[in-house]
Assembly symmetry: D3
Homo-oligomer: 286 residues x 6
């Protein structure tokens, strides 16, 4: 159950409105690395957890509500960059196409569709999609997804930070970057509370997986290469349950030809007798 107050989670000010930056900020709202993704991701993960996982459920829901507040902060930053000095901008906008493009932040929909406000889209105007959200039902897998989400999210925020000189925007981003630092750490810590989370899912009986290839680096180089002695071709594996080895060749032993389809598919083209008697000798691979 959710509640809200008419106040931003953290102050958002803009000294020099910059419509182009308003476009860039959209990536942090509706983009693959954005806040809509993490807010919903943490909720769906929480809603899948059964009895016995209350502290993780709380952790996820506490953070989800925080992320909703980040969407709101960023939406506020967008309107404050788009609307700051509208009069002057719109006059310039009619002078030349090049200036107009820059002044509208080049996402024309922020003007055309949203009347100078934020949208549920990324910095190219591509709508947010539920396809960005990872919630597998398996807590360990979900926690890795969250580390990853906060890692790409913090990377995005630092790039936005590099892109602006506005003190208000720098301050807001400095806060969001700090939160991503915290969130990366909290998900990593939560992973540490699980016994042997790797390989995910841990509940699958590992003896059922193929025992010949589960710790072997398989090279796909065209010509066989000697073991390069990389940290992932020898030594103990991070999960502590195997020893890395190296195979210069993929196993290779499978029939590539598909079975005949049902005639109802009408898959069959007419063929000349010549092509029908094709010499297939070149197709065997060995």
């Amino acid at each position: 159950m959710f509640f809200q107050e008419p106040e931003l989670q953290y102050e958002v000010t803009v000294e020099q409105p910059d419509p182009h930056f308003a476009k860039l900020l959209q990536q942090a709202i509706g983009g693959q690395e954005g806040e809509m993704r993490v807010a919903m991701q943490y909720m769906f993960q929480a809603w899948a957890l059964p009895e016995g996982y209350e502290e993780y459920r709380n952790l996820l829901m506490e953070t989800a509500a925080e992320e909703l507040g980040h969407i709101e902060m960023l939406a506020s930053a967008v309107t404050k960059n788009l609307r700051g000095s509208p009069k002057q901008m719109s006059e310039d906008a009619q002078e030349t196409a090049a200036t107009a493009a820059a002044m509208t932040g080049q996402n024309p929909r922020q003007f055309l569709s949203a009347g100078q406000s934020a949208m549920p889209v990324d910095s190219n105007g591509v709508p947010f999609t539920g396809g960005y959200i990872a919630a597998s039902g398996n807590l360990a897998g979900d926690l890795y997804a969250n580390v990853m989400a906060e890692a790409t999210g913090r990377t995005l925020a630092t790039r936005l930070w590099e892109y602006t000189d506005d003190p208000g925007m720098k301050d807001m981003l400095s806060y969001l970057i700090a939160r991503d630092t915290m969130h990366q750490n909290q998900w990593l810590r939560a992973l540490e509370t699980l016994d042997d989370p790797v390989p995910v899912p841990a509940s699958f009986p590992q003896e059922q997986e193929n025992q010949e290839f589960n710790y072997t680096f398989i090279s796909t180089r065209r010509e066989e290469q000697p073991d390069p002695g990389y940290p992932w071709t020898q030594g103990e594996s991070p999960d502590g349950m195997g020893e890395f080895s190296y195979a210069a060749e993929q196993p290779g032993d499978g029939e590539v030809i598909a079975p005949q389809p049902d005639p109802m598919t009408n898959d069959e083209p007419n063929r000349t007798s010549e092509s029908d008697n094709s010499d297939d000798s070149t197709t065997s691979s060995k």
Copy 2:
């Protein structure tokens, strides 16, 4: 540069063709957790790496080519499940709608659009999208994305394994599950070769982030709660650079009201004098 041989990377056999399972297998081809995603993800990550990262570039490209072979194996598994006993199936299919639905594996496009073969879609027929692919240009972030991709990928493969009794399918999945074990381990090992990868991105000067909130768990509970003493509210943070603390309240100090839009937006509705004199006393939050 790529090469191919007309042979599968690993044997794929089906004893009892099961069109419904053919539908499920699509998730591992074109789904969010599927092989098209990882194959392309590893490539795009590799192509972003500059000089000095050759061993990581090789690692990524070697694995990308392996994953292409997994797509091929799964596509083969789909046709072998769909086409195994087509005659009998198609006759049944015309008897009743319920049977027909089951017999076509309920993804009608595997029949209608693809003539009983595999497609670049997930198990609901939703097309693969580049939006699944994470490639940030930052190696540490990308490696976490890869751990996550293999974690959800292995989880998917084990669920498919649970869903079938066919020895051929069990064997193929046992191989794919083993490969996901290896890949989780290799990405984790690659992360270990980086100094202090967390918080990602490490190259951002951490003193620039807000120092008050970068290791603080902020509760979003409606009523203030005491520090629950969870592993993420106290103790040293996993990145070794901070000490977790607990805040019962979000900071909260931001103006939620957007600036006035440009009149050119035509955002302004006509309003009655009554509504214009609105009493806004309820909107202040403190």
Copy 3:
């Protein structure tokens, strides 16, 4: 700024778990008529409102937070339908494809991708998209969008209500249907507080629109028809600013042929002299 409590907004119980119904419920979560849409729609609309619209901003945000709670209720309903008697179901599931299909609710991703839990997708497994969200910056237009959203949302909820006999599900849906009744009414009442909201946007100077065709019903019938005397071909218009009239013909007076493209486009195919001397006499329309 958002807060949350570990409690559902309204009780959600399931007496007879029905995985098929779990699939249907997804439409109310991530579908075009679902709760993810309205929750985000009301937020983005609120974030665009400038000073002077506080009561509308509050109205929108109060309702947005309520809708977040509806997503949570529906997600809970999904897990309670999917997981209710898992043992029995999974055994049946392996017997025949037809039963398995029904038992997994036919959205295989609820099992394969989410481990028997809810997802940000619709009842066909199509991911939620920001493209469903309407937030134009113009309050009157947005309020009509909200009436429409609650109208299609309530229609969906009543159809789900018809589809189930489970008392718990009927009760939950009865609550959601009631809320949609309230929300339809509140958006209509908010529209009534605006002076002359139609035609939207009201701030556009109506004398700038074409005065010949702004209250004329234009027939597109192949052969000219007499005025049928429908309520939209005569009488005063609902906005009170015009009189409906009837035109049996579209105006029609525009050149359909595109200008020559730049040679850099390589649009030009090679053409035979015969086709080049084409007799274009049939292309004039009058």
Copy 4:
């Protein structure tokens, strides 16, 4: 059944070709508020209507065919803006990236993919999607969807009108704005011909909905607020079937914890004994 003539529904001329404006016009073709949406929306709505609704079916189909003509007009406007003075533009285009960007209207696909012509995409190049179309089978809900579609459509058209000084474009938009005025009015009038359309769907027996919450405004504010006395917290409801009331609290009475999933999901991570003995006392909300 459809017919066509090689003539535009209304004259489309461009005096000063402006490739940037060609990009903006795409929003009115393939965007969320565009003409492809309404043309198809009105058709699908019409095709769902059974006997007894002929005047509505005609209304919808007459308008659908008109909207097809609007797509054609806008496509013509795009080519006339892109191709007007191609020689000069393409030369400039090679001078500097900034100019080139402006000159191609910044939707590179209008050049690269379409050879300087219109496309079924929005102003950011995002393809049109059937997900924009609302056709519920319920006439009242559909009519509200149509009012909304024309409201956002007219808002878009007025914003485009503000953005151009070209007399030809102003005239074309003045016509399209007028048509949106008419269409808003015709859908509102059609709604007036229905008895008590609200709440939609009217055929659902209203006594089946929860009687405690169907006319109550539920506040989601963090701290309980007194009834603000807004027009939607007291007084008769617009549907004439209830009296608005105010609740300072969400009902709240539902169990948030999901049931245990089937072991076949492999949802279960390994857990340390410490985390297993979690103290859940903080999770109860009251």
Copy 5:
């Protein structure tokens, strides 16, 4: 400019309503091979044609309007299959999940979202997208796209024909199949009226393309293979402008390592001294 009449282009009757078939028919409406695609494709292609191409413009627009009528026919077929014996179906539907699934045609949105009518989606419920539409501005390329569209469209129609025993449906499909035959032939004939359409685009000066590899089949086999003597490795090329040859090896001569990114990207992870001194000797390919 478009017109319409309240009559179907061709008779559509259903003797035995089959909701499952209603789901399959959606592929021919909103699917990749469906009628929405061709109707819009032919329009956008037509709208790009400049003076001198009137007969092709007419050809495209005549056919586009015909395809609009096909969408209408198929939508009619959907409602006639879904609604034929609703009473009986809905009662069965509540008995068991398996039957219910079959009876609703397993696209729950045809019931939930559309009230038993057709939708702008494919047979899996995936919305139609403008991304299916090919309109390049180059007539020859577009005509090949049209041959392809009608080829896959006719294949789909024949598969639907195989799937039904209903005489009415067979008759409707027999008509649609016939039209696809005509359309394949008309696009091929139109191609014949162009001089040397291949390689598309013909207006590009062919001497500007690489002269070493424009008629050479390049093998990507792992190990060099002798020329298999296939029709595409020797003999004159179909465009009459070259002689096929065979290369056992890809040229291969390009530097794969990306340049260093700007430090502002924060691409750089922290690295251990060990990994920094990586031995790159394994990366050279020759």
Copy 6:
């Protein structure tokens, strides 16, 4: 099974890095006409082919692997254009929004999301989708799809060629254009090896299609036109199995009114008695 070498298929050099061109190049990677599409398209087509089609399977797989190498070349071209002189660019970028926009190539995600590298998206940042891929299971249809794919692909490449003056980029594109020439020719030659591929699918018994309309051009003009004597209204059809004829009228004989929906749909609005007694006399079309 796939292999790779750390070498590009063909040299890729950039003399004057141009971030704007990096944006345009994305169309050839992840766009509708791009290399991701053809690489995957040829694979899925190959994987559907049963015994007896080995030479076609080889043809498809050989080319698929080549196209993978083209993606890699283009990704290399993107980083080389984005990163060439990063220092200077990033400083300029902070000066003015207009320059910044141009300098980042206006796809902000190449910087924000990918750290100045290539992405699986098109030139507007729209993600690649499996919906671009055509693989029907019918070889003849697939070969036409391939001709079309290479035709639009070559058109795109020539437009990119026109857009750049960089010798390295011209050389790379000259190679890719040449390959598209080869591929158009090889698919056409493969079509020639099939007997009577048209109409696709050839295996459908042509006597089952409607014999009245399979070689008739049906005009959709509003007023009946005489046979224009076009090459597609008279003469033998290209498939050699019919004679073109001309019909000035669509057949037209179908009932447009949908059956009554099930009451469970709640499709029925309340209606006034007036509207219920609607005079339907205008709806009959004859």
